[in-house]
C-alpha cells in the first residue's frame, strides 16, 4: 500500500498540473482565438514564398495581408510569373492587371583594367563600406565597385562578381529589385525582361574626362542618337539612354558605338543570352554567359 501511494500521488500531482494547463490552453485557444481572413492564406499560397522584400512589404505574408485588407495590387510581386498570380485575381474578385516581367541590369562595363582605380582598397568586403571612402576605389563616380553587396543581398543568388563587375544570371533573376536598392552607386536598374539593347555605362562626366579613366565609358558622342532609326536613344547628362518602349532591336547602335558599350541580348531556347561588343575583338559574341549551377 505504501509503494502504491508513493507512485500514485506524484502521478496525480504531475498529471493534475498537466491536465490543468492543458485545459487552460484549450480554453484560451477558444477564448482568445483571432479571426483571420481565409483569403490571406489562399493568396499567400499563390505567392512565391521567398520573402525577398522586393514588393516593399516585410515578406510574402505581409504582402498577402496587404492584398486582402488594403487592396494592394498583386503586381507588386515582381518576382512571380503572371500565370502564378492569376488565381489571386479570382480569389479577390478583381480584374487582372498587366504584369511586366523585369530583370536587373548592372549598368557598368568597366571590367578588369578597363576602368582605372584611384587607390588600393583594403577593408571590409562590402560596397557600402568602400563607397564611403571617396566613393569607392574606381575613379569613375558611377562605376561598379565590384565587392558584391548586391550579390550577397540577392535572395535568389543570381548575381556574381566577374572580373570586378557584378553580372546577373538571368536564369535565376526574378526582377525583385533588392539589388537596385542595395547598390550604393545606384548603377543597377530594372529593365523589361525582353529588352534588346541597353547602354552599359552611367558615367555622367564629360567625354574627355570619362575617356581619361575608362576605356569603355560613354563619351556622349551622339553617334547612337543620330543613327537610331526610331529615335529611341537620347543623350542627356553626357550619357546615352535607350527607351525600351521605342527600341526595335535593330543592332545599329551596337555597330556604331565607338566605345562598344551598347550591349544586346537575345532569347535562345527560352534563355536570355547576353552579347557584349568587345573593344579589341571585331567579332561580337563574347558573352559573359551566365553559368548554370
Amino acid at each position: 500500500m505504501e509503494t502504491f501511494k508513493a507512485i500514485l500521488f506524484p502521478v496525480l500531482i504531475a498529471g493534475g498540473i498537466a491536465l490543468f494547463f492543458g485545459l487552460l490552453l484549450a480554453i484560451a485557444s477558444k477564448v482568445f482565438a483571432v479571426r483571420r481572413d481565409e483569403r490571406i492564406d489562399e493568396v499567400k499560397k499563390c505567392l512565391p514564398g521567398a520573402n525577398c522584400g522586393g514588393c516593399g512589404f516585410a515578406g510574402c505574408d505581409a504582402l498577402a495581408e496587404a492584398i486582402v485588407n488594403q487592396g494592394v495590387s498583386p503586381t507588386k510581386c515582381a518576382v512571380s510569373e503572371p500565370e502564378a498570380l492569376k488565381p489571386i485575381y479570382e480569389i479577390m474578385g478583381v480584374k487582372e492587371e498587366k504584369h511586366q516581367r523585369m530583370r536587373a541590369q548592372v549598368m557598368c562595363s568597366g571590367t578588369g583594367d578597363l576602368s582605372k582605380k584611384k587607390y588600393l582598397y583594403e577593408g571590409a568586403h562590402d560596397c557600402v563600406a568602400a563607397a564611403k571612402l571617396g566613393g569607392g576605389d574606381r575613379i569613375c563616380p558611377n562605376g561598379c565597385i565590384g565587392l558584391g553587396t548586391c550579390a550577397s543581398r540577392c535572395p535568389f543568388h543570381a548575381i556574381k562578381v566577374v572580373d570586378g563587375v557584378a553580372v546577373v544570371d538571368y536564369t535565376l533573376c526574378r526582377g525583385c529589385g533588392v539589388c537596385v536598392a542595395a547598390c550604393p552607386k545606384h548603377i543597377i536598374k530594372l529593365i523589361p525582361f525582353e529588352s534588346k539593347h541597353w547602354v552599359g555605362c552611367m558615367s555622367v562626366d564629360k567625354g574627355p574626362i570619362t575617356k581619361s579613366y575608362c576605356d569603355v565609358g560613354c563619351i556622349s558622342c551622339r553617334l547612337c542618337e543620330k543613327n537610331c532609326p526610331v529615335g529611341a536613344i537620347t543623350v542627356n547628362d553626357f550619357v546615352a539612354r535607350i527607351d525600351n518602349d521605342k527600341c526595335i532591336g535593330c543592332d545599329t547602335c551596337v555597330k556604331k558605338c565607338p566605345r562598344k558599350i551598347i550591349w544586346s541580348s537575345e532569347s535562345q531556347n527560352g534563355r536570355l543570352v547576353i552579347h557584349r561588343a568587345m573593344l579589341n575583338e571585331p567579332q561580337v559574341p563574347t558573352p559573359p554567359a551566365p553559368e548554370k549551377k
Partner: protein
C-alpha cells in the same frame, strides 16, 4: 526597507555578479542565435524578461504549495511543463489583447519555451537560501536574471555589429569568431565586476 534591500541584493548578485550568460553559461543558444542586431537582441531580452518573471512567480507557487517536502524530485519535470504551457498561454493572450506587443515579441516567444535560462532561474530560485520561501524575492530573482540576460545579449549584439564591419580571417568567419568574441566579452564582464566588492 529590508525587503527593498534584499531585492536590490538579489538584483546585483543575479544580474551582475552571477550573470546567467557570462557566469552560469545558461541561455547560450538564444545568446548566440538572436544577437546579430541590437534591436532584435533587445526584443528577445524583453520577451525573456516577461516570461522569466511570470514563470518564476508561478513555479514558486506550485513548488511551495504542491511539491515542497515530499515531492521535490518532481521539480524539474513540473517546471518544464509550467514554463512551456505558460509561454503558449502568453502567446495566445498577447495575440488577442495586445497585437502590437505580439508583433514585436511574437517571434521570440516560441524560442523561449526551450530556453534553459528560464528553467535555470526557476530551479535556482527554489534552491537559493536567500530567496526560497519568499514570493516577492523569488519573482524578483527571475526578473533580475532576465535583466542580466538582456544586458548580456544587448552588449554582445553591439560587439557583433562592430565585428561585421571587420575583415575577419576566412577560417574564423561566422561561428568561430562569434564564440571567441563571446568568451572575451564574458571575461571582460567578470573581470570588471571582480574589481568591485559589494560589502
Amino acid at each position: 526597507m529590508t525587503l527593498l534591500m534584499n531585492i536590490l541584493t538579489v538584483f546585483v548578485s543575479v544580474a551582475l555578479v552571477g550573470n546567467y550568460v557570462f557566469s552560469e553559461t545558461l541561455g547560450i543558444c538564444p545568446f548566440l542565435g538572436v544577437s546579430s542586431k541590437p534591436s532584435t537582441a533587445l526584443g528577445m531580452g524583453l520577451a525573456v524578461t516577461f516570461v522569466m518573471t511570470l514563470s518564476n512567480a508561478v513555479t514558486f507557487l506550485v513548488f511551495e504549495y504542491l511539491l515542497k517536502g515530499k515531492y521535490e524530485y518532481l521539480q524539474t519535470i513540473v517546471f518544464i511543463l509550467i514554463i512551456a504551457s505558460l509561454v503558449q498561454f502568453i502567446e495566445m493572450l498577447l495575440k488577442k489583447m495586445v497585437p502590437s506587443l505580439y508583433k514585436s515579441l511574437g517571434i521570440y516567444l516560441p524560442l523561449i519555451t526551450t530556453n534553459c535560462a528560464v528553467l535555470g532561474a526557476a530551479n535556482n530560485a527554489v534552491g537559493n537560501d536567500m530567496v526560497s520561501g519568499d514570493f516577492i524575492l523569488s519573482t524578483s530573482y527571475g526578473f533580475s536574471a532576465a535583466v542580466g540576460f538582456t544586458l548580456a545579449i544587448v552588449i554582445f549584439a553591439g560587439v557583433r555589429s562592430r565585428m561585421d564591419e571587420k575583415d575577419v580571417p576566412e577560417s574564423f568567419r561566422g561561428v568561430p569568431i562569434t564564440l571567441v568574441a563571446a568568451g572575451i566579452v564574458a571575461m571582460v564582464f567578470n573581470g570588471l565586476l571582480s574589481g568591485i566588492s559589494f560589502g
